[in-house]
Symmetry: C2
Subunit: 225 residues, 2 copies
């Protein structure tokens, strides 16, 4: 099994602030797990026994709302940690995690994270900064949700996905999502998501080929109202 010490994914997150010894322990304890598209990594309300570090692939964090609809809170890619928050606050998860494509995760037992949090100042400060950053971005999302139109949110979602997950050789977004997934991120009905993407296509802001979406006019998307 590969070691955390050399893992690129690890270098992208707070685990990078661990001491050599701590990382060695993590590496010795961790188990690598594979999930297929659609697999549930963990469900809402579960108590986790550790955190998952995304080695490759992308997954979504979702929450079921009272009216039975699923809302996607965040997409998580290489280097991101799933379940960190639940482990820190020692609560059950408030979100579930679902694989969006085939994905490889390393599961790190709780103790390997919590103990260093209590002992290693630089690690715990790093985690804290990450939480602060996440909180800020959650607040920004909240305000976008409250004050921007569905069209704007869709445009921003496309821009965000391109920025964070990049494009393939053809120029199409690397992350492939169904229209339903887009609706769930944007917070709208699936039909509306489809309609808006069709409209963007007509206006030559994007081009599509099945689920592949390519941003053709970034500035235009930014101008959407």
């Amino acid at each position: 099994m590969s070691k955390c010490e050399q893992c690129i994914a690890r270098q992208l997150n707070s685990l990078n602030a661990m001491t050599t010894e701590e990382i060695r322990n993590v590496s010795a304890c961790k188990t690598t797990r594979f999930y297929k598209k659609g697999d549930v990594i963990f469900g809402e309300g579960e108590s986790l026994h550790g955190v998952y570090c995304v080695r490759s692939g992308v997954c979504k964090l979702t929450k079921l709302s009272a009216n039975g609809k699923e809302h996607t809170v965040k997409l998580m890619g290489t280097g991101e940690l799933l379940g960190q928050r639940s482990v820190i606050s020692d609560e059950r998860t408030n979100l579930s995690a679902v694989a969006l494509n085939d994905i490889e995760l390393c599961f790190v037992p709780k103790d390997q994270i919590v103990n260093p949090l209590h002992e290693n100042q630089s690690f715990s400060f790093d985690v804290m900064k990450q939480l602060a950053k996440d909180l800020r971005s959650a607040e920004d999302d909240l305000i976008n949700m409250a004050q921007k139109s569905v069209k704007q949110r869709m445009a921003e979602t496309l821009i965000h996905i391109e920025k964070v997950f990049g494009v393939g050789e053809s120029g199409a977004l690397n992350v492939i999502l169904s229209r339903e997934d887009y609706a769930s991120i944007v917070g709208t009905a699936t039909e509306s998501a489809i309609r808006i993407l069709s409209q963007f296509k007509k206006e030559n802001l994007i081009s599509t080929s099945g689920k592949q979406i390519t941003i053709e006019d970034l500035e235009g998307l930014k101008r959407v109202e």
Copy 2:
């Protein structure tokens, strides 16, 4: 000047996890400040030189959106810390803080917070937990915003305010907000907020007398759709 050691407000937040010595230092450095209703405690994009601990009164954290509207992210009452996040992540504030009534804050210089964060594990772990909790609640808010009706959000806002800030002798909510403030929390137009509160009144879910609002039928409010 009063001392932090005995302050009730302090006991409600992470500062309670500080050592006796740390608290003594904080107490020695802190300055107490008074603000009147409407005063801006800090603005969006400022760099803070410390955090503010709410001793008495209530303030709102708001953010200006692209379209020029103000959105209220959170109300902060006794014991809560303002600016904690900006100080931790060493970034400019993303929100501004405005007093909703006459308010007394203790300003604690940055170093008094950041140094203990690097040295006192139990304090930093407490702060971390708080951030994790805030993050969770921001995510919940996001989903409410995405999937609930304006009426539901208004009902929940009233319930939340009653729960967190309580009621006075008459039974009316302790926190007095304008209809515009309600609109800014709920994420709607001021007219809509007014209309919905009028409707709640007609349906005997609440009673009002000027800005005083009393919840008359909690269960009914919970059932609003």
